[in-house]
């Protein structure tokens, strides 16, 4: 039950009279969901409503059965973990292992369990061997992985990422895709704000696009990325492969290279055995 977050007719304004979210209703369930849309659409605001950092002006947000208006973020942190964009906004310990264990210890894990989970998370992020190092002696991309590990180690039912692929090289993006897929396979509710449409199309089962504080589209990538009207409203372009498929007038919607090759050969090269 705590894996579901119900956002019900939520309105939110930072300053009175200027709503940033205007009647958003979404139910987040186990699986991998991407939130897309241009800057200013309300994505980050929505994200902060999911763990109680912000509470709705109207409507409600329920984490499982807990109303975010009645619980502190530090209490909800047991169920909802957020990886913020800038690792330097959170790293303060002088040893990597202490940093990764900070979250788990705060939410009540024993020292032994916190240590175990921290090591496992670091292994997943491929940053083993640096436990005793000072995070600020390491490069920025490594600090980003430390930040992600520190949230994964908390083993929350819901994991939220704020644009995780920024500044990552190809290896980093691939690793993130793997992690996101694995978390989804474990039955967790994974939500990510994504600007890299190729990443969104490849690794996510559900795409929610937002514009001007409202949900414009909510469905499978194959549907959302071919809904030209919706894409235009959200000011986003579809992934490169979908753009290529559009240009070649393919009927099916490829989200991965394998799919593109398959569909293309089926529709354009029927004579060939592939």
């Amino acid at each position: 039950m705590s894996k579901t977050i119900k956002v019900d007719e939520v309105w939110f304004s930072y300053s009175p009279g200027q709503p940033v979210l205007r009647g958003v209703t979404i139910t987040f369930t186990p699986g991998v969901t991407a939130i897309i849309g241009e800057n200013g659409a309300g994505k980050t605001t929505l994200m902060k409503l999911l763990n109680g950092l912000l509470t709705p002006s109207k409507g409600s947000v329920l984490v499982g059965e807990l109303d975010t208006r009645e619980h502190l973020t530090s209490q909800l942190a047991k169920y909802v973990g957020i990886v913020f964009q800038n690792p330097d906004d959170q790293i303060f310990k002088s040893k990597v292992i202490d940093e990764v264990m900070f979250g788990p210890l705060n939410i009540g894990m024993s020292l032994e369990e916190a240590h175990r989970r921290a090591k496992a998370a670091m292994a997943e992020l491929q940053i083993t061997g640096i436990e005793e190092e000072n995070p600020y002696d390491l490069s920025y991309p490594v600090r980003k992985r430390i930040a992600i590990a520190s949230i994964l180690a908390m083993n929350t039912e819901v994991v939220i990422f704020d644009e995780p692929t920024i500044g990552q090289d190809i290896a980093g993006v691939r690793l993130l895709g793997k992690i996101v897929t694995k978390l989804g396979a474990e039955g967790k509710t994974v939500i990510s704000i994504v600007h890299d449409m190729n990443f969104a199309g490849q690794f996510f089962q559900r795409i929610i696009s937002m514009a001007e504080g409202q949900v414009v589209a909510d469905g499978k990538p194959e549907e959302v990325f071919r809904d030209w009207g919706g894409l235009k409203r959200a000011h986003v372009s579809p992934p490169s492969l979908v753009q290529l498929a559009d240009a070649l007038e393919l009927k099916q919607t490829p989200l991965t290279e394998e799919q593109f090759i398959k569909y293309y050969c089926q529709e354009r090269l029927p004579k060939r055995n592939r």
């Binding site: 973020t73 942190a77 913020f84 330097d88 959170q90």
Partner: protein, 256 residues
């Protein structure tokens, strides 16, 4: 995002036509005069004149708020000096066991007027002048541009640091750190807030230092200015008047 300064642009003579150096001269001169003034009546008249100027600049209310800020200091000054000054002899007022003497109250009044005069003059300068404008005027007259840069950049940087601090708090709360609660808990919550703030500020300062180098911050030679400095001829008269007043008060003080 606004700069952190008290300056608000308004359509008054003092805001628009009086140049920063004249206002700076005014502030320095008035402060010195307030300390040199030999008689209380003089300090009072000076203060009233300042209030008139502030009224003309439509900044009386905001300046009043600044003066209100030291109200507690002034009240305690009156109480302490009025009751315990060593020269106290003549009893002016008695409230139960509390005795207030004339000599002490006079001293408190003198100090109060000095402070009020200084704050009023400072208010006139700060509320009607943009920090950039003031720094530029000083740089034209020989102040190091690097010093000018440091001062004006503080005004931009503080709001940014505050915003950053809020983001850091949100990130740490999301990791289960409790920022509300008793004093000890709040104290414990300081390190996870301050360390990232300082480190990320240092990091951004370093990046900015590079950006400054790229924009020839270290270049040798004289700096030029995009804006033209236009000083009305009347300003020189005003400055002369201010300096003569200062000279007058100084002579008065020396002679008494």
């Amino acid at each position: 995002m606004q700069q952190l300064s008290l300056y608000i642009e308004k359509e008054t003579f003092i805001h628009q036509k009086v140049d920063p150096i004249t206002k700076l001269t005014y502030f320095i001169a008035v402060t010195i005069m307030a300390f040199l003034m030999p008689v209380l009546a003089g300090a009072i008249i000076l203060f009233l004149l300042q209030l008139l100027l502030l009224l003309w600049a439509r900044e009386l209310r905001r300046a009043g708020k600044l003066m209100l800020g030291i109200l507690i200091v002034l009240i305690s000054l009156f109480i302490i000096q009025g009751m315990f000054h060593p020269d106290n002899q003549v009893l002016l007022w008695q409230l139960g066991p509390l005795r207030f003497y004339q000599e002490g109250l006079m001293v408190a009044t003198t100090i109060t007027l000095r402070m009020l005069n200084m704050i009023s003059a400072g208010a006139l300068l700060i509320l009607t002048t943009s920090p950039n404008h003031l720094m530029e005027a000083c740089e034209r007259r020989g102040m190091s541009p690097k010093l000018g840069y440091i001062i004006t950049s503080i005004f931009q940087m503080i709001p940014i640091m505050l915003r950053n601090a809020a983001v850091i708090q949100q990130a740490q709360e999301s990791r289960g750190m409790n920022v509300k609660g008793n004093l000890w808990r709040r104290f414990q919550a300081l390190i996870p807030l301050i360390v990232p703030l300082i480190l990320s500020s240092l990091y951004s300062i370093r990046e900015r230092a590079i950006a400054l180098e790229v924009r020839a911050f270290s270049a040798k030679g004289k700096k030029s200015f995009l804006h033209e400095e236009k000083i009305l001829p009347a300003m020189y008269l005003i400055r002369l008047f201010i300096i003569c007043s200062l000279a007058g008060v100084t002579i008065w003080r020396v002679c008494t």
